[in-house]
């Protein structure tokens, strides 16, 4: 199995008081992908420049199998599992794990869509497939014909929200990547702002504060329409008590062009 392992020294920027920060875990998606691709297939700049292909992330799932804090080690290993190309290279899936002493304390998987650049200047792109010259560098087990199922949680039927709220925000330049499109990493941070606003509101249900003090169990993100620098949107949040867990469902919507959903975030905490 073709994997890549990178040692990550622990520093204060990576952690909050509860656990490793979600945005940092999400940030390892592209680090891991670029490292794995460079070692086994093709480096990211070359993929874009020579093969005129790139990726946009569609879905992410993050889970935290055990508690792990800032003082628990001096470093951890970012273990990147093999990339799997589905549907003749239309969708790419990859899992990565944060590991200490052989135990996984955080793991994430991402589904990305391949886009093909249609001109030299990179002004135009459309969904496509990895070029055959790139696909040939993948091993047979890394090429899978069926497309993966979209992996987003569903709410148990008849579950009523214990709280709802709305939070508005603007996409700032420091939250964007090179093409001034929002960076997927910050979508979770926008959801966090919505959660904080609801939990800190005067008279809020005290159960909501679990969203501030408890570690995450898991987070699922689906990115459906990109936003760009200085776009504004609102986050519609619903909170559910699901057994012993607190489930936060955030939907980012705007009226840019037409009413549409840009992303959905499911956060699960122990209540």
């Amino acid at each position: 199995m073709r994997t890549v392992e990178l040692e990550i020294p622990i520093d204060t920027r990576l952690f909050g008081p509860r656990q490793v920060l979600v945005r940092e875990v999400l940030g390892f998606t592209m680090t891991g992908w670029a490292a794995w691709m460079r070692k086994y297939v093709v480096a990211f700049p070359k993929l874009i420049r020579e093969f005129r292909s790139g990726v946009v992330i569609l879905n992410q799932h993050v889970e935290f199998p055990r508690e792990f804090g800032f003082f628990d080690a001096e470093a951890f290993t970012l273990r990147v599992c093999p990339l799997v190309a589905h549907g003749n290279g239309r969708l790419l899936c990859q899992r990565y794990e944060l590991v200490v002493d052989g135990e996984v304390f955080a793991a994430a998987s991402a589904v990305a869509r391949v886009v093909n650049l249609l001109d030299d200047k990179g002004f135009d792109a459309r969904p496509g497939t990895l070029p055959s010259a790139v696909m040939e560098r993948l091993e047979a087990t890394e090429r899978v014909v069926p497309l993966p199922k979209r992996r987003m949680p569903t709410l148990p039927e008849a579950l009523e929200p214990i709280a709802t709220g709305t939070h508005t925000f603007r996409v700032e330049r420091h939250q964007c990547e090179v093409a001034e499109q929002w960076c997927y990493i910050d979508v979770a941070s926008h959801a966090e702002s919505a959660r904080t606003e609801l939990a800190l509101a005067t008279g809020a249900d005290k159960r909501l504060r679990a969203g501030l003090k408890r570690p995450f169990k898991s987070i699922d993100l689906a990115y459906t329409n990109p936003m760009f620098v200085f776009d504004t949107a609102k986050i519609e949040t619903k909170v559910f008590a699901d057994g012993e867990d607190l489930l936060w469902v955030h939907q980012i919507v705007s009226a840019i062009g037409a009413e549409r959903v840009h992303a959905t975030v499911f956060e699960r905490h122990a209540a």
Binding site: R113, L221, Y223, P226, F228, V229, D231, G257, A258
Partner: protein, 90 residues
């Protein structure tokens, strides 16, 4: 009419998100825009002069089909055209 920009085109219109134009058709509106912002031409239009497929046009919140004859489409002072970049993902 109003033309609103978002996404990668915003830089090409000097970050002016909403632009007022006095034009009888979308064709004239585009001519006025390109005269005012010549740097908009390359990111907005392909070599054949058509709107690049990465962009979507919404007239009064209704998406225009890619084969719409924009040049001949009549517009009024109260119409709003949104030009957005559309590529799913994060």
């Amino acid at each position: 009419m109003k033309v609103r920009f978002s996404g990668t085109l915003l830089r090409a219109v000097d970050y002016e998100r909403e632009i007022e134009l006095d034009a009888p058709t979308l064709g004239v509106a585009f001519d006025q825009l390109l005269q005012r912002f010549p740097q908009l031409r390359t990111p907005l239009l392909d070599d054949g002069g058509a709107v690049r497929s990465i962009h979507r046009l919404f007239l009064n919140r209704e998406q225009l089909e890619p084969d719409t004859d924009l040049a001949a489409m009549n517009i009024g002072a109260r119409d709003t055209l949104d030009v957005i970049t559309a590529l799913a993902g994060g």
